[in-house]
Subunit: 300 residues, 2 copies
């Protein structure tokens, strides 16, 4: 499980930094979190393909988190996408997208499914590969964070051993579920001889845009990696509070309280050309704090 | 009078080419024509300032010609713009922008004036510096071209001569209008001794997106520079017609018929990585055909 950052800046694109968007890979399937202006251009720049991207999540209705969506939706249609696309977003976005399609007399080439986010917390997707749930954060307008859980795919086959014990391929799925295999000659092949522990479940929490708030701890505690916005440094905390944003120090404090393994920082204000101070400020409180860079991929 | 190209590609951004936007400078005042996604990012890249940009014109409601507008409008507000902004666009864009503002509970920091384009041709702006008029082109949805006329500012003062003849500065405006000056001693200073011809009026025609159509000749004939879309090469003319676009050959033919001095080509399909063939195709019919490049500025 990993995440590629497409935009690490706040509302004003600047210093070659772009508004928010991320691609999370779960079992190699890409999931998009927010889609600021020029996201499709950033995807091209970093060679990110959308062919098996089927889920997009939008945190809130500030333009720097979704102004890239209409163009991206259109482009996939122009390129002949046929597989369904699922969008999970604040309810008002459904009518707005329809409005944009209507004025252009556009029809998409693929099924487009809109799912309105609930008022509070809830589960949005729950399939064999992953689960995505949302939780409310504290922003000027309604805003959600997301938790993505990679599910384990069962035990991992030791293929050479399976062949050695002459186990037929049709039985491999049962092996992954932990079952033993009884050969025709009555010999019992123990599961642990031919499999090992599969990758453990992983969780990624995405917290943007929000005031510092401990109300989200029940949702994010114990995740492997937490992304948290850090629009400002602590010496601008009054500005952060007035604009419903957080500082690097606050993000780090929350990472400590949530007992996460790794903290990714982003959504930097355009007032900062250099970002080293964010690393210092967060790092002094939480050791494993990372200043995200666009185009970079981080293991979760 | 000159034009800077911010995006020279058609709908799908590709090969580092962006959707349509141009900045026309008239007497150093910038005017924006169309505003595809990432226009504000392109402006930053090429050091284009918006402080005295007061007029934006949108040709039609296909996203690659206006998806950058909501972000640009917002950014100017975040940066504290206070001077009025005038947007001339198809009528449906007014409600759409309001819709986008409403879902974000946004209020702009500056007066925003929307002017709906007329059904056919008409004059949109007519001030001391320039005139902008629009005319209908032929596209899948209603679409307009624009003609920008730089007005002459009168005759140009020869300051050294003015001083030599002891003409007071308050009289300079009259000199620009061609008047002679009578000194207190009765000596008559002829206008042509202290002025010379000012810059002559210039006209720029912007024709995007459109089928080849001679119906626009009455509006564009004789302009100094014509920008015309050339989405395809002639060997794709069926595709061009099916999608209400033009070929490089057609654009060149129209440049000949319209007796323009210079032809700028753009809106290239993403199917073409290299653009030399456009130059060859158009150049064989109209000598002064230019393949526009992003970030480049062309004298009109």
């Amino acid at each position: 499980m990993k995440v590629t950052i497409l935009g690490n800046n706040s509302a004003l694109p600047t210093y070659e930094r772009h508004p928010t968007s991320q691609i999370v890979y779960v079992h190699d399937e890409p999931i998009m979190l927010d889609c600021g202006e020029a996201t499709q251009i950033q995807m091209q720049r970093y060679g990110i393909r959308w062919r098996n991207l089927n889920h997009i999540f939008i945190s809130h209705m500030h333009g720097d988190h979704y102004f890239g969506l209409p163009g991206f939706i259109n482009s996939m249609s122009l390129l002949g996408r046929t597989t369904p696309l699922h969008l999970y977003a604040p309810a008002p976005l459904e009518a707005l997208i329809q409005h944009i399609m209507d004025v252009a007399s556009s029809v998409l080439s693929y099924p487009f499914h809109f799912h309105a986010l609930p008022d509070g917390a809830g589960t949005l997707v729950d399939n064999e590969q992953f689960r995505v749930s949302c939780f409310p954060v504290e922003h000027r307008i309604t805003c959600h964070g997301f938790v993505i859980t990679r599910k384990t795919k069962g035990r991992k086959l030791l293929l050479e051993k399976c062949r050695e014990y002459e186990i037929p391929a049709y039985y491999y799925d049962k092996l992954k579920k932990g079952e033993d295999y009884e050969r025709k000659d009555g010999f019992l092949v123990k599961n642990e001889w031919v499999t090992e522990l599969g990758p453990k479940p992983k969780r990624y929490a995405y917290c943007a845009d929000t005031l510092y708030t401990e109300s989200i701890l029940p949702y994010i505690t114990g995740v492997d990696t937490m992304y948290h916005e850090s629009t400002y440094l602590e010496n601008d905390i009054e500005k952060a509070i007035a604009r419903f944003h957080s500082t690097a120090k606050q993000a780090a404090l929350l990472a400590v309280k949530a007992q996460v393994q790794q903290l990714l920082l982003g959504h930097f204000s355009s007032k900062y050309r250099e970002l080293e101070a964010f690393k210092e400020e967060a790092g002094s409180i939480f050791r494993n704090a990372i200043i995200t860079e666009e185009g970079q991929t981080y293991e979760i």
